[in-house]
């Protein structure tokens, strides 16, 4: 059955023709290329690497950045719609694009030298090179400022020691943007694959994001050339500004997953007969469907306005926290309720809702957990930080 995206409040009317075309292109790409294989990828814990050249050819990697670096220079709404449509397919592919775009290309674009930008951005946009982002550590998740990874200035090079955990794309990456303390201050480094002492083993046996590569990064006396430091930023502001970009995409993406679930569950509800009538005709099921549609509509409007703020350069990180927290939290709950409507069929791999539900557990945790975003917004509203 063809995917029918919920648009209860006619948000379509707010989009420009280019924005619609971008969305339709990505939707078609996902329908034609990801949907036929995603169940198999998820079951066998395989990232669909074969789709990356095609996705890059379409311009899905680094879409918001300027043409001079091989990118499409899209506005925030179009970039958001890319995330929405990718995550309609699977959070794994959306995560890949988010990491490449928001966490790897963004710091190089914002804090890199012209040489770094000219070398890396076109290669990352074309998919010739893959990037990953090393901030989280085994013992420092919500509190990245406590990181133990250290860089030492050895005169003609830096020496990097430490480890990172839960790194999307780690094992398949050609370059890692690694945040480490240099003289007690957080700095960004570009660490290429193959440097002696740098390993990126994959974390296996996940219940979630199975069609995505998640890894540890281990650095043991890794020599980093001096020109590989990102000169443009010092302190936690560097990594946190990247997270703002990625969280922005996630807030859109989560609605894509929720829309996929809603579409599946609505059509199931209308065709599943119990007590001689479609279950969608029962009040309890309608209550669930109405709640789902309401939450999706709210989430869609939230990210649409967030995009306007981003394009107007008025978006604050706390605005992004509110959207990420709300939309991922809602999407996860929508997937759980959707799974319930599907009954026993909902635990079968014939249906995608369970896969989205499992993925969204990760999405709810990564890039700032639901609770941490609560505290970020809480601090913004009251002026009192609850976590220090």
């Amino acid at each position: 059955m063809a995917y029918k995206a919920l648009d209860y409040y006619l948000i379509e009317d707010l989009l420009t023709e280019e924005e619609r075309m971008v969305r339709d292109t990505v939707r078609e790409f996902v329908t034609d290329n990801l949907m036929p294989i995603i169940e198999e990828c998820n079951r066998t814990a395989r990232f669909p690497m074969e789709l990356i050249p095609k996705a890059a050819g379409l311009g899905l990697l680094g879409a918001p950045y300027p043409e001079e670096y091989g990118c499409a220079n899209l506005n925030a709404i179009a970039y958001g719609l890319i995330n929405q449509e990718l995550e309609r397919g699977d959070s794994g592919l959306r995560s890949f694009v988010s990491v490449q775009t928001g966490l790897v290309m963004y710091p190089i674009f914002s804090y890199g030298t012209e040489e770094q930008k000219k070398y890396w951005l076109p290669k990352l946009a074309s998919g010739e090179k893959i990037g990953c982002y090393g901030l989280t550590e085994p013992d420092f998740g919500s509190n990245p400022g406590g990181m133990l990874t250290r860089a030492e200035d050895k005169g003609d090079h830096y020496l990097l020691n430490g480890s990172k955990a839960w790194i999307t794309n780690g094992t398949i990456a050609d370059v890692a943007v690694v945040w480490a303390k240099l003289d007690g201050e957080v700095r960004g480094f570009l660490v290429e694959k193959g440097r002696e002492g740098f390993e990126a083993p994959e974390i296996k046996n996940k219940f979630s994001l199975r069609a995505s590569v998640t890894s540890d990064l281990i650095f043991q006396d890794v020599r980093i050339p001096k020109e590989n430091i990102l000169p443009g930023v010092k302190g936690l502001k560097g990594p946190l500004s990247c997270l703002t970009q990625a969280r922005y995409g996630i807030a859109w993406g989560a609605m894509g997953a929720a829309m996929a679930v809603y579409d599946e569950v609505l059509s199931y509800g209308k065709s599943r007969i119990q007590f001689d009538r479609p279950i969608a005709g029962f009040q309890l099921v309608q209550n669930k469907l109405v709640w789902m549609a309401t939450e999706i509509t709210k989430g869609q409007l939230l990210v649409y306005r967030l995009a306007q703020l981003k394009d107007a350069k008025r978006m604050r990180p706390q605005h992004v926290s509110l959207a990420k927290r709300n939309n991922v939290g809602a999407a996860l709950e929508i997937a759980r309720v959707g799974r319930d409507i599907l009954g026993a069929n909902g635990i079968s791999n014939e249906y995608q809702t369970f896969r989205h539900m499992n993925n969204l557990e990760s999405v709810n945790t990564y890039e700032g957990t639901f609770d941490i975003h609560t505290l970020i917004i809480g601090e913004d509203l009251t002026g009192i930080a609850a976590y220090t």
Binding site: E17, E18, M21, T25, F29, L58, G59, E67, A72, I82
Partner: protein
Amino acid sequence: MNIFVLIKAVADSEATIRPAADGKNVKLDDITWVLNPFDEYAVEEALKLKEAAGEGEVTVVCNGGDEVPKIIRTALAMGADRGIHVNGPRSFDALSIAKSLVNAIQGKEYDLILCGKSAIDHDNNAVGTMVAELLDLPSVSFVVKLEKTATGLKCEREIEGGLLVVETPLPAVITAQKGLNEPRYASLKGIMAAKKKPLETIDAKSGEVQVEVIAIEPRPPRAPGEIIGEGVDAVPALIKKLREEAKVL
């Protein structure tokens, strides 16, 4: 190589088509317009030929109303260079459409005219060959493979049980059949570039519309099925009905 591609906006194949109140037209309120799939093959082939030649322009020409600019920009986003919107009513009359398209391209320089073998709405299979006739050009229709030769084009057409290989000089009119190629997606860069490409609007000069739709009627509802019986006992009665009523045995 300068190529003109004749394209059409059609209702999305997943749209539910309902007759309008006048009983002669289709209700257009909820229709999503898309580039006719057979014309997509034509656009793709034009782009491939241009890329192989390393020079030239691909111009798309489309007849219709307000639905047309979006469809032209879809082709521009795929990579076509310019568009001509032949602004006039949509019509079933293939000859009048062919004339208005010919009016838009006559006098311009072209090596080749491509279009889909048919549009998925009216399914006339006529406009392309009519354009060839009006321009006094050779025409090959339902082409599944196209190859540039020193003097023209080698075309393959599928025929019952095999292939027919024909050659034509240029300029010519070629109509595209499914299988000719795999149309590319409009890339994001292509979409952004499309709005900067020239899109000219001209009034349609179609002449007299001769063939007119006088009614669109929904298919009569299917007669309900009949349960003859259950199990092995029902088989003789079923065979009798299949033989005497359905006449399929």
